[in-house]
Subunit: 185 residues, 2 copies
């Protein structure tokens, strides 16, 4: 049972739950999922099964570039879904189109966005409050998550994220990174 609030100005806070991670096979794919989640404003990523090396890689990104995004391993993903105080969104190409579901998703203050790989356990479709398709074609969970986060929250403006040592200064051509003064970190 999920309580819907009237539409509010603030975008929903998003936690991502990645299930079916295979540390041996797809570390880079899940790393990209974490990078996209962080860059596009999610608060954290729960990871099943846990992968300490991957969590450390994302933490190192945060140390340099700032923010509070974190990866947390979960041993039992179904418990994590049930414990979530908010609506559960499962990204799947078999779900209802995002264009149609977005107004509903926006009404929730907190969303748990569940992304699986090629095969996901059948009961996830029933556990989820919303099964949402970002295009009804085979696609990438990284792409689906990115589009959903952009639609929900827009793109974060260029800025130094709190606690980081480095920030990008946007340029038409070339690269420019600004190092934060010691006192401001």
């Amino acid at each position: 049972m999920v309580r819907r609030l009237p539409r509010r100005a603030a975008a929903p806070a998003v936690t991502v739950l990645r299930i079916g991670h295979r540390a041996g096979r797809d570390p880079r794919l899940t790393t990209h999922l974490g990078l996209a989640a962080r860059a596009l404003g999610a608060e954290r990523m729960l990871l099943h099964p846990p992968d300490d090396a991957l969590a450390a890689r994302l933490a190192a990104i945060g140390h340099r570039w700032g923010g509070t995004f974190a990866v947390e391993g979960v041993a039992d993903w179904r418990s994590a879904v049930r414990a979530h105080a908010g609506a559960v969104v499962h990204l799947t190409m078999y779900g209802l189109p995002l264009d149609r579901q977005l107004p509903r998703l926006r009404r929730h203050p907190r969303l748990l966005v569940v992304v699986g790989g090629a095969k996901v356990p059948r009961d996830l479709y029933a556990l989820a409050d919303y099964n949402v398709a970002v295009g009804s074609q085979p696609h990438s969970e990284v792409a689906a998550l990115a589009v959903l986060l952009d639609r929900l929250r827009g793109l974060p403006p260029p800025a130094t994220w709190r606690g980081g040592t480095d920030a990008i200064v946007p340029r038409a051509h070339g690269k420019l990174v600004r190092r934060a003064p010691e006192g401001t970190r």
Copy 2:
């Protein structure tokens, strides 16, 4: 020199150019890039260096799910950039924010969207007409491409794509795939 047209109703046609692909190391990442490009309406993906196995995997997706998306290997990516009859967009976290660049990109009838990996050759920044950042933070090229395509073209509606044998019927819960009658393929 790129000629800009006045703003037009039709969304730009997009070709994706993936450079720095490492067939041994990141087949799945580039596969996801191709899947996202196809699902979100790009016409084709040029791939440097060529990878026939990957092109075949994407072709198999097309045989089942339809459409005309194709992967083409290119031996010399700089020639492909120069030969492109349209504007060249390089997705990079160091570029100018997408929110600011999008109105300009929309004016072009054809875009070549170049995505690299962690390291890209320096001259790409100069070869590109637009260096565009989807968030000024480290992120995923799959995520960046997905957000750009969604912003440019929106999500394709659920439908049977021409030539495919299968199509998804969107559902609130569960999976439903419709097989096209023989005569309509």
